[in-house]
């Protein structure tokens, strides 16, 4: 029934002349989605969280009543511009690679006095609540809009983390004998109407990181890559990874480095 509808639409659209260049490389349904994605991106509710995140970044908070303005995102204390596009990266003070949200959570703990337990208790957005780190990472990410991804690979731990991320990406396990690569390691797969990008190819890897953090139309909530990848583990029927764990930073390192050199467009809007 559903397939019949989609196929019907595809047939109807294929018959109509299509003015967009996209149509040559994409199926008509995806082309229609892309056309209106531009419209949706032009005014993106994600901006509401950018504003909130900036406030949270600048306003003293937590038990220590400190702001996050001394937080070092890799480019020096308080430097936000461009930081997101150059993460995940190695941080000597914790001797590990951290993605943006992991680093923000680290700063909320060390500078503001929050505990990991309270921040990790319910770290993802619901219809009625957006956790502060999600708003903050949205603000931080927005300050890298228009910049090229340049996740560093100079430090041995950054290289090791990329290798670990790659291994996790191809690791098959669970009741479905599934890996990330089962869906995202080959060309031209789709779930229902959605094409699935092949993250092992640089030109498609960008789609793993582009548009995150993203305003998700389903439910109307703001989500970060921490949520997206955690949900991939659920979809694979894997055990849930710990919030801001090295596992998640490693996977993010793998997909971001694969997308290095391509332009980040800022927080996006997702299905």
């Amino acid at each position: 029934m559903r397939h019949a509808l989609v196929l019907g639409v595809v047939a109807a659209m294929a018959a109509a002349p299509w003015p967009h260049a996209l149509a040559q490389t994409e199926d008509p349904v995806s082309a229609e989605f892309d056309k209106f994605r531009e419209v949706l991106e032009k005014d993106n509710p994600a901006e509401l969280w950018e504003v909130k995140g900036e406030q949270l970044w600048r306003t003293p908070g937590g038990p220590k009543k400190a702001s996050l303005e001394k937080c070092d995102l890799g480019l020096g204390p308080g430097v936000v511009k461009g930081a997101y596009a150059q993460m995940p990266r190695y941080f000597a003070d914790v001797d590990r690679v951290m993605d943006a949200e992991a680093r923000i959570v680290h700063c909320m703990i060390t500078l503001q006095g929050f505990t990991y337990a309270e921040l990790a208790k319910a770290p993802f957005s619901s219809a009625t609540r957006t956790p502060d780190p999600v708003s903050i990472v949205t603000y931080v990410a927005a300050q890298s809009a228009g910049m090229k991804f340049a996740a560093p690979q100079g430090h041995p731990k950054e290289k090791a983390t990329y290798a670990a991320g790659k291994e996790i990406f191809f690791y098959r396990a669970g009741t479905f004998d599934f890996s990330c690569a089962s869906c995202h390691g080959v060309d031209d797969k789709r779930i229902r109407t959605q094409p699935l990008p092949n993250f092992t190819k640089p030109e498609q890897a960008i789609r793993a990181v582009l548009g995150w953090p993203g305003y998700r139309m389903t439910g109307g909530v703001m989500h970060s890559l921490q949520w997206r990848l955690t949900d991939c583990f659920r979809q694979q029927r894997f055990p849930k990874p710990d919030y801001t764990s090295e596992t998640l930073s490693a996977l993010m390192t793998y997909v971001t480095v694969n997308a290095n050199g391509q332009v980040y467009k800022g927080p996006g809007i997702k299905r």
């Binding site: 005014d43 509710p45 901006e47």
Partner: protein
Amino acid sequence: MADPMKIRATLQGDVADVRVLMAHPMETGQRKQGDKLVPLHFIQTISAQLNGRTVFNADISQAISRNPVFAFKVKGAKAGDKISVTWTDNKGEKRSDETEVRAGS
């Protein structure tokens, strides 16, 4: 308290292109949380003023998407003019925000 709106007003000739993002759950009264229905909660009216004079009004239903986005165009505007937008919801809650009209690029 309701979160602030984000309003952008950009000049195109003497018309201000006004784009508004609102933070509101726009509950339809049909969504379940657990086994309970979340009650209707939605913006009902929107009005916009150019330098204090009403130029645009809307009455809307719960079918407007969560975190509403609207755009409209106001005639006879110039750079530096004030555009303010106010919404009121079915619980009587209200929010007003203001921005300055910017020259178009």
